[in-house]
Symmetry: C2
Amino acid sequence: MTQTSKHRAPATPRAAARARRPVDGLLDPAFFKALADPTRLLLFACLAKCARPCSVSDVAACCNVDFSVVSRHLGTLAAAGLLTPEKRGKHMFYSVRFNDLSLRLRALADAIDQCGPGCCPPAACGCGAPESAPDRPPEPAARRPRAHA
Amino acid sequence: MTQTSKHRAPATPRAAARARRPVDGLLDPAFFKALADPTRLLLFACLAKCARPCSVSDVAACCNVDFSVVSRHLGTLAAAGLLTPEKRGKHMFYSVRFNDLSLRLRALADAIDQCGPGCCPPAACGCGAPESAPDRPPEPAARRPRAHA
DNA sequence: GCTACACTTGCACGATGACGCAAACAAGCA
DNA sequence: TGCTTGTTTGCGTCATCGTGCAAGTGTAGC
């Protein structure tokens, strides 16, 4: 997870938007959306700290929301790949996917590191890093970017 | 950041909710919420791949949304600690906080690893891991958890 | 088969957020 | 000073989401 090969940074943001990088595959809105809600985060933390499969009733005891809300939230977290659902009899157990999560977060950190600065000297960029040319826009960006929409 | 000391897992989810762990401080809803929107994620990826400070107009060229929307999104990302804003003349430059982000993600991965299984033998838990007792609820959870609300 | 329990789902409602437009604000330049 | 350019902010609209209640589904025990 400590690969040091760096990509060449795109010359312009527009080119950057088209360029494919490892970070693209790891920036999944659904993943972050699942963790964007305080209640869901509370349930997830509860499950993580308990470090074992817990039933919906168990987790519902952690916070002051309706039972159905907990059921829905756990389903959302499972759908996003954060939890593993497991039906046992009439109970539904959810457990944190510790390994997957850890790997995913580290992979994202690696991908971000790979994008990091040091691979795009201002002169080669043609876009003027602010240190050398603070006020020269790299290209005449259209005032209305949605022109072709 | 690779500490191996594990906490004792709480016996019940309710206790887990009260227990303080490193993961609690790292699960910030605002952080994940900032990354939960596809457009914002696109702008962030664009900035990350460009690997240099970009002005609002630059980034706006990456996607088909209004200029004001881009301005707002970048502000949101900066407020969440993902970007660094820097005013230079009449341009506003935003740059990805590569180091902070990478450290933050790795810290979260470490905290999740710390919570991981292996620290709470089912017998000591008293809550019945499903492998040994699939159908015995650890405690009679209240049907309406918001009783004291 | 009946009942109890655990959980899911449908529905309505309120809150939040993303979006586009237009106006305002700020900085550089002739 | 007035104009142009870059950016932010106010406002209205629409879609999405979180929530609670109630009903429905599925499983286990009698």
